[in-house]
Amino acid sequence: MPLTIQRSDDGRVVTITISGRFDFDLHQEFRQAFEHAEEEDARYVIDLAEAEYMDSSALGMLLLLRERAGGDRADISIVNCSPAINKILTISNFHKLFKVA
């Protein structure tokens, strides 16, 4: 599975794990991952340990998630980034909008 979703027991933390290429092909699945989220104040963790690559449409998906999760109030962490992915996030300055670890 290129994309898996895990909720913490109290439902407050949603972890989305992505493996392989994080690009436009995941668009549908990624949207579905948070479109049905009922918890308005959920915290999101995007785990990219298994992701090899990320393109600009993946960045667009992250912006969609951010909007859905409350815009400026959103609490989204992007964790386990490879150096290549980190570089893409750095060029786009996405650490100004997301917690990048």
């Binding site: 998906m61 909007e67 290549a84 750095t90 060029i91 786009s92 300055n93």
Partner: protein, 586 residues
């Protein structure tokens, strides 16, 4: 599908009317039996007594299915089938061979000439009907598929045509600037617009240059659509004398409104001042912009900002980097496609290889081609469809004095009138507005002096920034002589402007007609009270070293230039001729 009328034979309605079966058999009894069975089952039937007749009837009657005997006089079943299949072209007309033969070679030959099934004598009504119905289902499916295929091909043709038209229209809107100037080299794929890549360059009214390299998320029409407002804003605002900060804020505001959340615009905007000695750059989401110095050193200017169209304007950071450049320095900006290009093993080209290619070449004139060649060698071969954009801008002080060729003849000066205006700027106003674009706008509106825009802007800009920087903010121009000081100068300027609590700059413009055109008299006065004007005025004399142009430039443009008082009052007179020449004979 009106254009398909030529294919009536092959696009006969799928439903309606009974299935038409042609029987070809030289045996009278066989024909009678088969015809009786089929008519009773509700099929429409025609008969042929030999292969030749079958081929002729096939053409005139256009059956849906053929029952074909093998051994017939004149033309046998094999050859008749071959000819019928040839006539049918890519429409599917099933042929069922009627045969008593059971040797495999004969059956194989039936298949080879295009036969679709066999029926062995004696005929069973049930099997005959089952076979005809089965093949009829296949035939109908085939007709439907072919209609859909033709429809799809038609759509594709139209889409391609529309793309070509859109590409031409968009290219005209987007690429109408100064990209073709001799100081600029660039590579942009012909399909770049549909990759969301764009590149713009335009002369500033003051003689400097604005350039933009950008990349919309995604591909296709959705990526292309945003390029139009971006180009419009870029060219329109550059022409009116706005700074890159104002331009990027306007672009951001527009894109926030029109783009969906997941589409954004990574872009770098840069400004070279008139003497090409100062580079101002704002980079949001584009890979490092590289400056290749004349001595081979390569400096990187990384992305400091989020791409455009992501956050609201009130959160947008307009902070720019200001770097000193000299004649011969080359500025390289490129899309991420450039550094992400991969070799056969999947490895990326990367910024390090790119930097090394720039540093390793001693002849600056071949840098651009060398870079493309290095990349080409790395990936194997470059094709025009690749998502690669690259621009090289050479710092060339001589360019600033070259006259702009882009002034549309539609702009004609208005008949000279007598008017004057005065603006007083206090600290609060100085902090929040740049008065020059507004004053320029007024000048253009009142007197229609588009052809004099560059010169007028340069005069205003010089007079105003001297009054503000040296009069009110008391900045020492000698600071700008080292690269460090250059940056410190701008930091200090920002800080002092923020802290400024008194003083004013007075700007007066007076216009009066003369015999051939008009006279513009600019008066600028500052009251940097409480400090020594003479000391501040002194550096103005060797102005070239700090603002790069200053007094000599003003003197070359203006008819008269006079400082008075303690140097805080300056008057400049600019004369324009009705024919558009500034130096019209008196």
């Amino acid at each position: 599908m009106a254009d398909d009328s030529a294919q009536t034979l092959t696009t006969k309605p799928v439903t309606g009317g009974s299935t038409r079966v042609l029987i070809a058999d030289d045996d009278h009894v066989n024909r009678l039996i088969l015809k009786a069975i089929l008519v009773k089952e509700g099929y429409a039937v025609e008969v042929a007594e030999n292969g030749r007749e079958a081929v002729v009837k096939f053409a005139s009657w256009q059956p849906d299915l053929v029952l074909m005997d093998i051994m017939m006089p004149v033309l046998d079943g094999y050859e008749a089938t071959r000819q019928i299949k040839e006539q049918a072209g890519d429409s599917f007309v099933p042929v069922i061979f009627l045969t008593a033969l059971s040797d495999e070679a004969a059956l194989a030959r039936c298949v080879a000439v295009g036969g679709d099934d066999f029926l062995t004598k004696p005929y069973s009504r049930v099997i005959l009907k089952a076979k005809i119905d089965a093949l009829e289902r296949v035939r109908r499916l085939h007709v439907t598929m072919r209609q859909q295929r033709d429809e799809l091909a038609g759509h594709q043709r139209r889409l391609l045509q529309e793309h070509q038209v859109a590409e031409k229209v968009l290219a005209k809107i987007v690429h109408s600037g100064s990209l073709d100037a001799p100081q600029i080299k660039y590579m942009l794929s012909p399909m770049a617009i549909f990759n969301g890549d764009m590149m713009l360059a335009a002369r500033k009214p003051s003689g400097g240059l604005h350039a933009l390299l950008g990349d919309f998320t995604g591909h296709g029409l959705s990526a292309a659509i945003g390029t139009v407002p971006v180009a419009d804003i870029f060219y329109g605002m550059t022409d009116k004398g706005f700074s890159i900060g104002d331009i990027l804020a306007t672009i951001n505001d527009k894109l926030r409104v029109i783009l969906p959340t997941d589409v954004f615009f990574a872009a770098v905007l840069l400004e070279l001042d008139a003497t090409h000695s100062k580079l101002t750059i704002w980079n949001g989401g584009i890979p490092d912009v590289l400056i290749r110095r004349t001595d081979g050193q390569v400096d990187a200017l990384p992305s400091d900002h989020l791409p455009l169209g992501v956050i609201e304007n009130d959160q947008l950071d307009r902070g720019v980097r200001v770097v000193e450049v000299e004649a011969g320095d080359r500025i390289f900006a490129f899309s991420d496609g450039f550094i992400e290009a991969r070799d056969a093993s999947g490895q990326m080209f990367g910024l390090e290889r790119l930097t090394a290619a720039l540093a390793g070449e001693s002849d600056a004139d071949v840098l651009f081609d060398g870079l493309l060649r290095t990349l080409g060698d790395f990936v194997g071969s470059l094709s025009l469809g690749d998502d690669l954009s690259l621009i090289e801008i050479t710092c060339d002080p001589n360019w600033a004095t070259a006259r702009s060729t882009g002034v549309p003849r539609a702009f004609r000066p208005r008949a000279p009138m007598r008017w004057s205006l005065a603006i007083e700027l206090i600290p609060e106003t100085l902090r929040s507005v740049d008065p020059l674009p507004l004053v320029m706008h007024l000048l253009m509106d009142l007197q229609g002096l588009q052809e004099h825009r560059e010169q007028l802007y340069a005069v205003l800009m010089e007079l105003f920034s001297n009054a503000l920087d040296h009069g009110l903010l008391r900045l020492d121009s000698s600071m700008k002589q080292t690269p460090d000081g250059f940056v410190r100068y701008y930091e200090l300027r920002k800080q002092r402007l923020a802290e400024l609590d008194h003083g004013r700059v007075l700007l007066e413009i007076e216009h009066s007609p003369d015999r051939v055109g008009g006279l513009l008299r600019f008066t600028v006065e500052d009251d940097g009270s409480g400090f020594d004007h003479a000391r501040v005025f002194a550096p103005l004399q060797d102005n070239v070293s700090f603002f790069g142009r200053g007094i000599p430039l003003l003197k070359s443009i203006c008819d008269r230039l006079e400082y008075s008082g303690s140097g805080n009052h300056v008057e400049a007179v600019y004369r324009w001729g009705r024919d558009g020449a500034t130096d019209a004979p008196d």
